[in-house]
C-alpha cells in the first residue's frame, strides 16, 4: 500500500501564526504631504495577522501540500472531468498581450484577443456542429440557465407562451432541474429504461403542446450514450419542443459525434472540463453556449465577429456584435477571457486529431477500469461505457459497508474518491471517470486498491468504517459539517454575533 506522505501536524491558521509587530514589508518614505482622515471615519484596530514573508510563503505552501489536486494524484471524480491542466495553458494566459489589456480599449488595439475569441467560437462550432456560439456564460450551470432562457425566448418570439414544461431524464445532471426552475419552467422527470436510456413510453406521454423542451445529458450520468437519442430528439421536435444538451460530458465525443447532428438545438460546453482549464476554486469556469441557426439571434452577447473582411493588404477586423433578439448580457465584459485563452491553447495544441484521440483515450480508460472492476463491483447498467461508468458500492454479504466508506478508504491509497451517491438511480453509486491522461499503471493501481477494499469490506469492514487513516484529518462528522455552519474562525467583536 502506498503511504500518503502528508505533513503533520495539521497547519495552524494564519491568525495563530501571527506575532504582534512582525511585518513582511517596508514602505518607502512618504513623498507627499500627509492628510488625516476625517474624525469618526477611522477604526481603532485592524486585527489582521502579522507575519514575515517567509512565514506566509511556508504557511500557504504547507496548506497546498494538504490538498489533493490533479497535479498530485489521480482524480476520478465522475461527471466532473478532472483532467490534467497542461502548463502551457498557464503560460499563454500570462502573455502580456492578454494580461495587460482592458475590456474598454478600442477594438483596433485588442485584435489579437478578439481573434482568439473568434477562433475559439469557430473551434467550438466545428466540434459541436452548431451554427453560432456565445462565450459569455461564466460556468456550466450558467450555460444551462442561458440555454433554457434561449429556449424560452424562442417560444415567446413564436407567440407560444403556453410552453412551460421542461422534461428532464433522471439520468441528467443535477443542475438541470434547477436551471429550468430558475427560468420559471415546470420540471417533469422522465425515468430511464432498463438499459439506461430515456424511457420512450414515458417521454411520449409528456410530448404535448405545453412542452418547452427536454434537457438531456449525453453521454448521460451513467456514462452511457443514449441509444434512443435520435428518436428522443424527434419526439420532442414533433411536439414543438426544443432539445437542450448538457455538454458536461462532451469529453467522450470530440471529433466523433457532433451534438447538432443528432438533434440537439442548444448545448453548453464546459471549458473547465472538456478543454482542460482549471475547475471552480482553481480558477473560474466557463460555459459557452452553442445553438442552431434558428436560435442564433437569441444568443447572449456580445459575440466576436468579423466586422470588416479585409483584403490582401489588411487583415480582417474583429469586433463585438449583439445578436438581433439577444436574451441580453449574462456576464459583465466578454466572459471569462483568461479561461478562454487556456481552452483555445488546448484546442490548437491538440488539433483535430489530438482532440479525437483525447476522447478515444478517455473512453478506453473508462472501459478498461470497468472491465477490471466488473467481477468485484456490481455494475447495474453493464454495457460498453463512454468516458465514465457507475458501479454500486455495496455487497449483500457486507451490509454495513456503504459507498461512502469505500471512498473514504480510497483516500488512504492516495486517490481522490469517485463521485458518491449520484446519479440517484443507482444505489450506493460510485461514479468513476478516469480521463484520458492516466497511464495503465495508474489505472491498475486504482483498480487494485478498489479490489483490495472490496476484500477488506468482507474481512475487516472496520478499516473502511473508520477510514481515512493516512490523511491529515480522519473521518469528518458530515452531519455537524452540514448543520453547524461556522464558516470563519474569527468573528469581529463589534459584529454583534
Amino acid at each position: 500500500m502506498t503511504e500518503y506522505s502528508t505533513p503533520k501536524p495539521v497547519e495552524p491558521t494564519v491568525y495563530d501564526l501571527s506575532s504582534p509587530g512582525r511585518v513582511g514589508h517596508t514602505f518607502p518614505q512618504c513623498d507627499v504631504p500627509l492628510a488625516d482622515f476625517p474624525a469618526g471615519m477611522t477604526r481603532d484596530d485592524l486585527p489582521l495577522p502579522e507575519l514575515s514573508e517567509v512565514d506566509v510563503v511556508r504557511h500557504y505552501t504547507r496548506l497546498s501540500q494538504l490538498n489533493h489536486g490533479v497535479d498530485t494524484g489521480f482524480y476520478p471524480l465522475g461527471s466532473c472531468t478532472m483532467k490534467y491542466n497542461p502548463k502551457i495553458n498557464e503560460e499563454m494566459a500570462r502573455l502580456p498581450g492578454f494580461t495587460q489589456i482592458h475590456p474598454f480599449q478600442p477594438i483596433e488595439t485588442v485584435q489579437g484577443a478578439l481573434a482568439l475569441m473568434y477562433h475559439t467560437q469557430e473551434w467550438l462550432k466545428a466540434i459541436s456542429g452548431f451554427d453560432a456560439v456565445s462565450l459569455q456564460p461564466a460556468a456550466g450551470a450558467h450555460g444551462e440557465l442561458t440555454g433554457v432562457l434561449i429556449i424560452r425566448a424562442y417560444h415567446h418570439a413564436c407567440g407560444d407562451e403556453k410552453r412551460t414544461k421542461m422534461l428532464i431524464p433522471d439520468s441528467a445532471h443535477g443542475t438541470n432541474p434547477a436551471s429550468s426552475a430558475m427560468s420559471g419552467l415546470q420540471v417533469v422527470e422522465i425515468p430511464s429504461d432498463a438499459r439506461g436510456n430515456v424511457d420512450l413510453e414515458a417521454l411520449r406521454q409528456h410530448c404535448d403542446d405545453t412542452l418547452a423542451g427536454l434537457m438531456i445529458t449525453n453521454p448521460n450520468t451513467l456514462g452511457l450514450f443514449d441509444e434512443n437519442l435520435a428518436e428522443v430528439c424527434e419526439l420532442v421536435h414533433q411536439a414543438g419542443g426544443l432539445v437542450y444538451g448538457d455538454g458536461a460530458n462532451l469529453n467522450a465525443l470530440m471529433g466523433i459525434a457532433r451534438p447538432a447532428d443528432y438533434g440537439i438545438d442548444v448545448l453548453h460546453f464546459n471549458l473547465h472540463k472538456t478543454f482542460s482549464t482549471p475547475h471552480g476554486g482553481g480558477g473560474p469556469g466557463s460555459g459557452p453556449v452553442g445553438v442552431t441557426a434558428e436560435l442564433a439571434q437569441f444568443l447572449p452577447g456580445p459575440i466576436v465577429d468579423v466586422v470588416d473582411e479585409g483584403d490582401q493588404d489588411e487583415p480582417p477586423l474583429y469586433g463585438l456584435v449583439m445578436p438581433e433578439k439577444s436574451i441580453g448580457r449574462v456576464k459583465s465584459f466578454w466572459g471569462h477571457f483568461g479561461v478562454i485563452v487556456r481552452a483555445f491553447t488546448y484546442m490548437i495544441m491538440l488539433g483535430e486529431e489530438g482532440l479525437r484521440a483525447a476522447s478515444e483515450h478517455a473512453v478506453l480508460n473508462a472501459n478498461y477500469l470497468q472491465a477490471r472492476l466488473r467481477d468485484t463491483y456490481h455494475i447495474p447498467y453493464d454495457r460498453i461505457c463512454m468516458h465514465e461508468f457507475v458501479a454500486e458500492g455495496r455487497w449483500p454479504d457486507a451490509p454495513e459497508v456503504h459507498a461512502l466508506d469505500i471512498s473514504k478508504r480510497l483516500m488512504d491509497f492516495g486517490f481522490h474518491p469517485p463521485t458518491n451517491y449520484f446519479p440517484l438511480i443507482v444505489h450506493e453509486a460510485l461514479m468513476i471517470e478516469p480521463t484520458e491522461t492516466e497511464s495503465k499503471e495508474t489505472l491498475d493501481a486504482f483498480a487494485d486498491a478498489l479490489i483490495q477494499i472490496a476484500e477488506e469490506a468482507h474481512t475487516n469492514p472496520e478499516i473502511l468504517k473508520t477510514a481515512p487513516h493516512n490523511t491529515p484529518f480522519g473521518r469528518l462528522d458530515e452531519v455537524k459539517a452540514a448543520r453547524d455552519l461556522v464558516l470563519c474562525c474569527w468573528v469581529p467583536e463589534k459584529s454583534g454575533f
Partner: protein, 128 residues
C-alpha cells in the same frame, strides 16, 4: 425495518395515519434509511394552507441527497412539526412517531383508497 399496519403508504415513501378527519404525514423507515443522516427539514407549506394530493409539502436533506415529501392526500394543513427544524435527526430515530411532518384536515377521504397498505408497500419492487 418497520412498516406499521395501521398506516397507509405512498409509492414515494410517505406514510399517513388517519385519526378522525385528520391525517398525520411523515416519511417511512425505508426512506430515512435510504437518505441516511438527515440534516435539514424544511417546510414548503404552513398552517392554513390548502394542499392537493401530490403537492410538495416539505424537503428533507441528508448528507447524501435532498428529497421532496409529497402530500398523500388533499386538504388543509392544520399543523407542521416545527420541532424537526431543530432536531432533524428525529427523522432517522423515530420516523413514525416524533418525526411526523404535517397534519392535514382531509378534504377528500376517498383519496386514501389510492394508497398502499403495509403489505403492499413492502411488496413494492425495489432494486435492492
Amino acid at each position: 425495518m418497520e412498516f406499521p399496519k395501521d398506516l397507509k403508504y405512498t409509492k414515494n415513501d410517505e406514510w399517513i395515519r388517519v385519526e378522525g378527519d385528520i391525517g398525520v404525514v411523515g416519511i417511512t423507515d425505508y426512506a430515512q434509511d435510504q437518505l441516511s443522516d438527515v440534516v435539514f427539514v424544511e417546510y414548503l407549506v404552513g398552517e392554513g394552507d390548502t394542499v392537493s394530493q401530490g403537492d410538495v409539502c416539505a424537503t428533507v436533506e441528508s448528507v447524501k441527497a435532498a428529497a421532496d415529501v409529497y402530500m398523500p392526500v388533499s386538504g388543509e394543513i392544520v399543523a407542521v412539526n416545527e420541532a424537526l427544524a431543530d432536531a432533524p435527526e428525529t427523522v432517522n430515530s423515530d420516523p413514525y412517531g416524533e418525526a411526523w411532518m404535517v397534519k392535514v384536515k382531509l378534504s377528500n377521504p376517498s383519496e386514501l383508497d389510492d394508497l398502499l397498505d403495509a403489505d403492499a408497500y413492502q411488496a413494492l419492487e425495489r432494486d435492492h
